[in-house]
């Protein structure tokens, strides 16, 4: 390590410290406290000093260990390369192992109610991530309003189920259809937009849906939300301890002792199957003309046009298909919670789903799983330290972007693998 390098790193971290001081000095350092009915400024310089020192030292280490080493910026580190290689060579075995693990998961000894709830939540986010991956990862359309389709799916499921009394298996495809139609609705005005402009409009679209749900009181009950959404039944057999007269339930039919866990386990398998369908669909469609056209559109729109790929239809199908899976996830969310309100569909949800896709490495299906486990798991671990959750969340994103600038799994397998002809 030569002297110049050390010097510039030191200078850089001092500068970072100054910025941290300017930011945190007023925000954290000066605190007003009410003493005897008067506001008194109470300085907390020690905390500020600690934060500033942390930022400066942290920046110094980032400088030394990642930015200015003998490698081009953006190149994955050797550790990252090792992970990618491992996943490339053993990818299918790992995926199979992960699927088997998720199938036997509910019967593992430690899988109590708490773990099952976390697992269901993670599965929901994985499914949303895979759905959004179609739009962002394959078609390259940055959609910041994905939660809108999640909401449309949830609300259409709830309204159909409450008002018409239709079963889960009828409402689920309907909810997907509705969400897909909203996807096309969003798609039309943004056909000509790309990049930042597209992102802004989709963000606004997400907010519009939320505000619509909040204000259309006659249909959505506004901020009160919809209650009493029917729970799904096991092909007509409800999960109830005391069923209505003459109704056979899941536990009596199979001759089991009633346990509330049965419903949880059923929900878990439901979302697992839905998520796996999403994944399977994405893997398959990448080899079909429409999926290939999505990826081509992400690479180069003009080349697509000159080859006779219709960009309008291609974009609309990407939006519609991505939205459809969001809608499926939404109806699952509605039936699991039995209560939905616009509160559940705020921008932060969209942001988390986008973060899952981007941090996972855009277009990588396994990456979505890894980053979901990482991000959602982190949020859960910090549940007891409520106020630090967002700090940890933000910190995790910064760390991933510093060490793996293109996402956890930056490298993606080619779409087609074939045995070489002789």
């Amino acid at each position: 390590m030569d002297k110049n390098f050390l010097q510039s790193s030191l200078k850089d971290s001092l500068f970072t410290g100054l910025i941290a001081l300017a930011l945190f000095g007023p925000i954290v350092g000066l605190r007003t406290v009410a003493v005897n009915e008067a506001l008194v400024v109470q300085p907390k310089w020690l905390v500020v000093a600690l934060i500033v020192a942390f930022c400066a030292v942290g920046r110094f280490f980032i400088n030394i260990y990642t930015f200015k080493k003998d490698q081009r910026r953006g190149e994955p580190s050797s550790f990252g390369k090792a992970i990618s290689n491992f996943l490339d060579t053993k990818g299918s075995q790992i995926a199979l192992g992960a699927v088997i693990f998720s199938i036997i998961f509910p019967f593992l000894p430690f899988a109590d109610r708490y773990w099952m709830d976390i697992a269901i939540m993670m599965m929901t986010y994985i499914m949303l991530g895979w759905g959004l991956n179609i739009v962002i990862g394959l078609a390259g359309l940055l959609d910041l309003g994905y939660v809108a389709f999640y909401a449309v799916g949830a609300y259409s499921y709830a309204l159909f189920a409450i008002h018409f009394g239709w079963s889960f298996w009828i409402c689920l495809p309907l909810a997907g259809l509705f969400a897909g139609m909203f996807g096309i609705l969003l798609g039309f005005p943004v056909l000509r937009l790309r990049g930042d402009y597209l992102a802004i409009v989709t963000l606004a679209f997400g907010e519009m849906i939320r505000i619509l749900l909040l204000n259309w009181y006659e249909l959505t009950k506004g901020p009160d939300g919809l209650t009493g959404i029917p729970r799904p039944s096991f092909f007509g057999l409800p999960f109830k301890r005391y069923p209505d007269e003459g109704v056979e339930t899941f536990h009596t039919f199979f001759g089991l002792e009633y346990s509330p866990m049965q419903r949880i386990i059923f929900l878990y398998y439901l979302i697992l199957i839905l998520a796996l369908i999403t994944n399977f669909f994405t893997i398959k469609i990448r080899r079909l003309p429409v999926g290939r056209a999505w990826e081509a559109l992400r690479e180069d729109e003009i080349a697509c046009k000159s080859l006779g790929v219709n960009p309008r239809n291609t974009k609309l199908t990407a939006f519609a298909v991505g939205a459809m899976f969001g809608g499926f996830a939404g109806s699952f969310f509605a039936t699991r919670q039995a209560f939905i309100s616009p509160e559940s569909f705020t921008f932060i949800e969209s942001a988390i789903i986008v973060a899952i896709v981007v941090l996972g490495g855009m277009g990588s299906q396994t990456g979505v799983v890894l980053s979901t486990i990482f991000l959602i798991g982190l949020i859960e671990v910090f549940r007891d330290f409520e106020s630090y959750r967002m700090v940890a969340f933000g910190g995790a994103m910064v760390l991933i972007m510093v060490f793996r600038p293109k996402g956890i799994l930056a490298k993606r397998k080619p779409t087609i693998t074939m045995v070489k002809e002789k």
């Binding site: 003309p289 290939r292 056209a293 990826e295 081509a296 690479e299 180069d300 003009i302 080349a303 697509c304 046009k305 000159s306 080859l307 006779g308 790929v309 219709n310 993606r412 080619p414 779409t415 087609i416 693998t417 074939m418 070489k420």
Partner: protein
């Protein structure tokens, strides 16, 4: 086969083509030469429908195509090899070829059409599973031409196929263009900076200056024209 008359194209307020008349007959190779910014690429983009002509007519096989969207124009039999190759660099060579076949009966005849492309450019066959971006410039150009051929065009629009390619490969690519024209009977409309090579290959040529057709004639005549030599062939230096 292709009849362009009085075509004007704008980028916003800037006029790129000022009433261009070009005619390409069935089975010909026609070259369009001109300096940077003369509007050569704009003309090709206007033919393929990526840019729209503000006024004028583009008639292909007695059908006015000036208002058709690009995918319909490809369907009619005009394929474009865009400037700078524009291959899909993160997709495999095979995916690139399959995308070229997206119009032609949705790729039903992929194997047969692909075989013809491999005959033209054998190197592509060895690179099928490689990502497009890992090919050399010349190979990428071959892929771009092969990709366009997958749509079974009757007319091929080539935009600067020699751009940024090693001289040895340029010869090979020009030989393939000749082959595509003579063996497969595809009409070729070629835009080139490399005026000498283009005019040697072409049956006829046009010179585009500031959005106007300045000169036209057979390839040989243009090669020997002193004005063309001075402006585009560095003939003045000799």
């Amino acid at each position: 086969m292709l009849n362009i008359s009085k075509v004007e194209t704008f980028y916003g307020n800037i006029q790129a083509l000022r009433g261009v008349d070009v005619k390409v007959n069935d089975g010909e190779i026609v070259a369009l030469i001109g300096s940077n910014g003369a509007g050569k690429s704009t003309l090709l983009m206007t033919i393929s429908g990526v840019n729209k002509a503000a006024t004028g007519e583009i008639v292909f096989d007695k059908k006015d195509i000036s208002n058709l969207p690009p995918h319909d124009i490809v369907n009619l039999g005009i394929s474009q090899v865009p400037e700078g190759r524009r291959i899909f660099s993160r997709l495999t060579v095979e995916d690139n070829l399959r995308l070229g076949a997206s119009v032609n009966q949705k790729g039903k005849n992929f194997d047969q059409d692909a075989k013809e492309v491999y005959d033209l450019f054998p190197v592509l066959k060895d690179r099928l599973l490689q990502r497009g971006g890992t090919l050399s410039g010349g190979e990428q150009q071959m892929l771009a031409i092969g990709r366009a051929m997958m749509a079974r065009p009757r007319m091929l629009l080539l935009d600067e196929p020699s751009l940024g390619i090693a001289p040895k490969l340029v010869n090979q690519i020009f030989a393939s263009i000749k082959n595509i024209n003579k063996e497969k009977g595809v009409t070729v409309f070629l835009v080139e900076q490399n005026a000498k090579k283009a005019l040697e290959l072409a049956d006829r040529g046009y010179v585009l200056v500031n959005g106007n057709i300045n000169l036209e004639g057979s390839g040989k005549d243009l090669l020997n024209n002193p004005d063309v030599q001075a402006a585009y062939l560095e003939g003045g230096k000799k």
